[in-house]
């Protein structure tokens, strides 16, 4: 041990470290070892490991993100398919509903048209009948005065005297017509108003 101490003290004595047992640590090397490792550790801990950890976590995130995106895309595709099917079914229902409605509406229109045509026809028939009636009436009235005139004319001719007196002649005509009405059931309320346009 004395030799060790003296070498440690002087440091100039030749040969000790060259022949020393190899398991005696050399102080200089020990210091170099610790300092060099400390420097390496600082560089690795401050710069190298953070960078590597960052890229590892980024990669994990990227892979997980990719999987998540794929999953999301699948979910979206499924939702779109479901929605498409629902829309298709809805469209089919709508189409059949419209067809049904059209059929019903068509039938309704036919019925309505038929009714309208019937009404029109009835109206036309009624109007025609009314007109016929009116014309009949008119003709009857015209005929009555005409017949009166003719008859008066004829009578005056036959009798040979001019029945100039209007009042008398109209009385005679009325009487004559009243007799006629007994024979024919015709409404003769206005028959007593022959105007005697001839006189």
């Amino acid at each position: 041990m004395a030799a060790v101490y003296s070498v440690l003290a002087s440091g100039d004595e030749e040969g000790f470290w060259a022949e020393a047992a190899p398991i005696i640590p050399h102080p200089g090397e020990l210091v170099f070892g610790i300092v060099a490792f400390a420097i390496l550790y600082l560089v690795v801990a401050r710069h190298v490991v953070p960078r590597l950890e960052q890229v590892l976590s980024e990669r994990t995130t990227a892979i997980e993100g990719g999987l998540e995106r794929a999953e999301q895309a699948q979910v979206q595709a499924e939702a779109a398919l479901t929605q498409y099917r629902a829309q298709l079914a809805e469209a089919r229902g709508e189409a059949s509903r419209i067809r049904q409605e059209a059929t019903e509406e068509g039938a309704a229109i036919v019925v309505e048209m038929r009714a309208r045509a019937q009404a029109e026809a009835d109206r036309i028939v009624a109007a025609a009948q009314q007109q016929i009636e009116a014309e009949h009436q008119h003709a009857l009235i015209a005929l009555r005065s005409e017949v009166g005139d003719l008859a008066t004319e004829l009578a005056s001719r036959i009798v040979g005297e001019a029945l100039a007196d209007e009042a008398r002649s109209s009385r005679v005509v009325d009487r004559f017509l009243a007799e006629l009405e007994h024979l024919e059931p015709v409404a003769a309320n206005g028959a007593g108003a022959p105007t005697g346009q001839d006189g």
Partner: protein, 263 residues
């Protein structure tokens, strides 16, 4: 060195301990700057430069450099740190273990890389320095977690009676404070020292046999010796990698023991 200088005078002198003592600057005393120190500093500069360059531009899809860096990093991070320490708090030890692994690996490989050809860890002070870091750290972590008394209590294996405990406890103390650090340092040192000494022996021995011993048989023996040197070099590369891995793995184990919840 000595083998060559001595060979001229009187036969072959086998390489020995003194071949590993190579002070380069200053004195050859206790604070001499030795070849091991210079190689270590060079390795640290080289490793720092390589790692910083390789991690400058990292991408999600790695290139070749990044792939190699990530594989080495992944080996330490996942196969050593995470598997041994557990996924809860292994990340804070990853920088330590990674720098330890890469430093030992590179310095071990320097043992066979031509311009350097000196395994730094064959000087016991180098593994001792790394071991000192591990030793101090795992005791510090254990004491910080359990307190001084709690830590020394936790060294006692659970489920043992007092009688047996009195017998076991000193052994546990010796394990934690002596066996672990000493074996950790000496295992690495011994492998590198012995391996390199063996290479030296085969190479200088072959040289002596071929050039100085004289005779055809000796020359053939020298050739065989050189061939053995080549085989041992290949084997040495395997050992160098393995020792770096084992040192890191054991360091992780000791640290894991200190931070584990149960003994």
């Amino acid at each position: 060195m000595r083998a060559q200088s001595a060979a001229g005078s009187d036969g072959f002198v086998a390489p020995d301990v003194s071949d590993f003592w190579q002070p380069l600057f200053g004195t050859d005393g206790p604070f001499a700057v030795t070849r091991a120190s210079v190689v270590l500093v060079l390795s640290v500069v080289g490793i720092c430069w390589l790692l910083l360059a390789a991690t400058r531009k990292l991408s999600l899809v790695p290139g070749r450099t990044q792939l190699v860096t990530e594989s080495v990093y992944g080996l330490v991070r996942n196969s050593v740190a995470r598997d041994v320490i557990g996924s809860k708090d292994f990340l804070r030890f990853v920088p330590l273990l990674f720098s330890m692994f890469i430093l030992i690996l590179v310095n071990n490989l320097f043992g066979v890389v031509p311009p350097i050809q000196f395994p730094t860890m064959s000087r016991v002070a180098m593994p001792a320095a790394l071991t000192l870091v591990v030793f101090v750290l795992y005791h510090y972590l254990g004491i910080r977690k359990r307190g001084v008394v709690g830590y020394f209590k936790s060294l006692m294996p659970p489920g043992i009676g007092i009688g047996l405990g009195l017998l076991i406890y000193p052994l546990e103390l010796i394990t934690y404070f002596f066996t672990r650090p000493v074996t950790l340092a000496l295992r690495l040192f011994g492998n590198m020292f012995a391996g390199h000494l063996l290479l030296l022996l085969f190479i200088t021995g072959g040289e002596y046999l071929v050039f100085e011993a004289g005779g055809a048989g000796m020359m053939v023996a020298g050739g065989v010796s050189w061939f053995m040197a080549f085989v041992m070099t290949v084997f040495e590369i395997l050992v160098e990698f393995l020792q770096a891995y084992i040192f890191t793995l054991l360091a992780a184990l000791y640290l894991a023991g200190a931070v584990a919840d149960e003994h």
